[in-house]
Amino acid sequence: MLKLPRLTPRQEALPILPACWAVLRRDLLSSIRRRQELFNPLIFFVMVVALFPLGVSPEAEFLRDAGAGILWVAALLSTLLSLDHLFRHDFEEGVLEQLLLQPQPLYLLVLTKVLGHWLVTGLPLIIMAPLLGVMVHLDGNSIAYLCLTLLLGTPVLSFIGAIGAALTLGLRSAGILLSLLIIPLYIPVLIFGTGTVMAADEGLAIGSYLALLGALLVLALTCAPFATAAALRISVSNS
């Protein structure tokens, strides 16, 4: 006999934190089990960084100047690549509809999902960054600042990207459309991210840059889940 789960009306709604934890746990488990999808963005990250010495110049001097920017652009592109999976599997399997029906605020559930996405895509990028930093001849100080800016910036990329992923859910040419919608919104993060490392390199004060990155993070954290939740409702009602 199949043991059917009990239906929601008879079940007590979970309090918010356990509900978020359940979403997070499920997302992490499912991404660990889809190992290829987990590694593809990382491999892509390394390959994009490798294109610059091969395609532009292998000179140590150029790489030192451009290194932070190269790593940032590569991180941005590989985040973009991984975004497509953020809601797609859930959408195709009907999990997303269940998520929208939950009694807990959708804002928090979306926030948790994006956090889960960042843990499996953003965080590995930051861990990889020092290795690639050495490969593009960045010195220790720059690498430290680079990791700090990535730590502040990659969650913003995930949050903004979630809006685009939710808007393009279920569309045929979602991948390219997603890039078109999201890259313009990524530009400020890129500018402040690389700006911090460059300013630190020249010995300038970087407090204002970090403050701006932090402000972007707070703005994304507070506003982006609203937009994502609205976009999810639109996309699901459309299908």
């Binding site: 903004i160 809006i163 808007l167 393009t168 569309l171 045929r172 040419s173 459309l177 078109l180 919608l181 890259i183 313009p184 919104l185 530009i187 400020p188 500018i191 703005l219 982006a224 937009a227 609205a230 976009a231 639109i234 996309s235 009602s237 459309n238």
Partner: protein, 244 residues
């Protein structure tokens, strides 16, 4: 007042009223823009610093000004679409997004033409220029998303969400020249202050800005009418209108 708002929700009513306003918008817009541009290009005094090359301001500033305010109007219409589900707001967004993209391109292009003699370069990665370029990309995104979603209602709401997210860029464009020390000069006009240039310069500029607004109004009405005809093509009033 409320009756007016309710009528505004009716495409048919809008179609009629827009038709009545359009000739006025076009004539007054052309008149103002013509006077402003001719005055500015031919009769306004030379700039003490930039000589005659500053005269492109009479085309550059109106397009740049309007490119941003069209986006703000689209965002406002986006709020209306999301909250009140008014059909016309969505028609407006769909109709003016390409116009906004063209205006942004024109602003960038005339800026490049102006930049060559004054800064010695066509393009520079200055904050104002970069944020205007982002605005152009945002317009492209809005147009692409609107075209990608087949269902009209979901397309309208998705586009509304996207325009609202993108509106973050508008204050960045506006204040970029003040927050960052860059090549681009600060705003020529401020509503709250007396203009720093002589009246012979700012009056024609003001005229061309107003003229372009009016022409934009005409173009928006025209494009909205077309969109309404397309959407209501099965309605009886459209059939009667077309068969006359």
């Amino acid at each position: 007042m409320w009756a007016f708002f309710h009528k505004l929700g009716s495409p048919k009513w809008f179609y009629g009223i827009a038709g009545r306003f359009m000739p006025w918008l076009l004539v007054s817009g052309l008149l103002l823009l013509g006077v402003g541009v001719v005055w500015g290009l031919a009769f306004a005094p030379q700039d003490y610093l930039q000589g005659n090359s500053y005269r492109i301001i009479f085309i550059h500033v109106p397009t740049a000004f309007l490119a941003q305010s069209v986006y703000v109007m689209m965002a406002a219409a986006g709020v209306i679409t999301l909250v009140w589900r008014m059909k016309l707001a969505d028609v407006f967004v769909k109709a003016v997004a390409p116009v906004g993209a063209v205006l942004t391109f024109l602003a960038l292009f005339t800026g490049a033409v102006w930049g060559k003699p004054t800064w010695g370069t066509w393009w520079i990665w200055d904050a104002r220029l970069t944020s205007m370029l982002i605005l152009l990309f945002l317009y492209f995104g809005v147009i692409a998303l609107g075209n990608a979603i087949a269902d009209e209602k979901s397309a309208a709401r998705a586009v509304a969400v996207l325009t609202l997210v993108g509106v973050v860029n508008i204050p960045i464009i506006k204040y970029s020249v003040e927050w960052w020390n860059t090549l681009h000069q600060p705003a020529t006009f401020k509503l709250t202050e007396k203009p720093s240039m002589p009246a012979e310069m700012w009056v024609p500029l003001l005229l061309s800005v107003l003229g372009l607004y009016l022409i934009f109004g005409w173009l928006a009405c025209l494009r909205m009418q077309t969109e309404i005809l397309h959407r209501e093509r099965r309605a009886r009033w459209v059939r009667e209108l077309v068969n006359v």
